[in-house]
Symmetry: C2
Subunit: 192 residues, 2 copies
């Protein structure tokens, strides 16, 4: 998506080791006009899938999922990362390794909010090694819900998450795929 | 706000000890139509304050803040609760005690995204003892930004946060204030 690629070039910071910082518009300070356009694009890509629920994960996915959900007219369910007194009752859980935070954590979704009657679109801000998405896929599998697709704002094409998810046959669309050329410079790949 | 009060009566679960669960529409499964109405109401209440930034905190505040921000045409900055590799550089920090999670945690906002030129509206889903808001107030004070007000979806009127914040002279509006009568039943108070 041209608009997002241009914004990454303008305001993203690409650092050695493949670190991409987009905190000035996507995941710390959030440009709501931009994110509305991303939401519209997710709707264009997945409008025909009969989606009735968007699933995301704390924390930075939530705002993007909520804005996208306005175009689908569906609720958002977000997987929680911490055990909370307010999350009692029956829950689906899965364990996720975070490379950003360098630890394992358990994600939880209440069984009340994901069932076999649901047709689910996953939305998240980033896809790198894919560990958060694999956790959400595990929870969807446990619930018996139908996975209709996954919409990602920025995929790191030089890490394996996107390849694995596509090889699983999942309908994955990334609005920008960032890759590195032989000199370590940032380039964009097409989303196929 | 009548719409929110009616929804709390219909789908909220009020339990002994003043625990109110609204996870079926506000902070785990999110009813986006409802939250859009809350966002419009925040805009009605704070439209004349010259707000140029909305500040919230991970995690459940983010979606509400993002949807509200569409009516203000301003960006959202959310305070982060975990140390992340992606949050380097200069940050404002404050320590918050969470009663829900029963621990202390540090919240962080990058200095890039909050400055003395900002006119800030705080938005959050819940206000009980007010610890998260006090952390955000501390960060706003450090930044030199102007606090224009605080918009809360649900305030627990039987806990002290709202009273303390109003006594500080802060322009606080809660869309629903839940209280308890002498028998421990849930009632609503007017927002003044």
């Amino acid at each position: 998506m041209k608009l997002l690629e241009e914004r990454i070039v303008k305001d993203g910071i690409f650092k050695e080791g493949g670190i991409l910082k987009v905190d000035s518009f996507l995941n710390h300070c959030m440009d709501i006009d931009l994110i509305s356009e991303l939401g519209k694009e997710f709707h264009r890509l997945f409008a025909d899938c009969g989606i009735n629920k968007i699933l995301t994960i704390e924390a930075s996915g939530i705002g993007i999922a909520c804005i996208a959900a306005q175009y689908f007219n569906v609720p958002v369910v977000f997987a929680k990362k911490v055990q909370s007194k307010n999350l009692d009752g029956e829950v689906y859980t899965s364990t996720v390794h975070s490379y950003t935070h360098d630890k394992e954590y358990v994600i939880r979704v209440s069984k009340k909010f994901l069932t076999e009657n649901d047709r689910v679109l996953i939305i998240d801000d980033f896809l790198a090694k894919g560990k958060a998405i694999f956790g959400l896929l595990d929870i969807i599998r446990q619930s018996g819900a139908t996975l209709c697709g996954a919409g990602i704002c920025i995929e790191k094409g030089f890490q394996e998450g996107g390849r694995i998810i596509r090889e699983m046959g999942i309908n994955l669309h990334s609005l920008a795929i960032v890759d590195m050329d032989a000199d370590g410079n940032m380039i964009f790949k097409e989303d196929h």
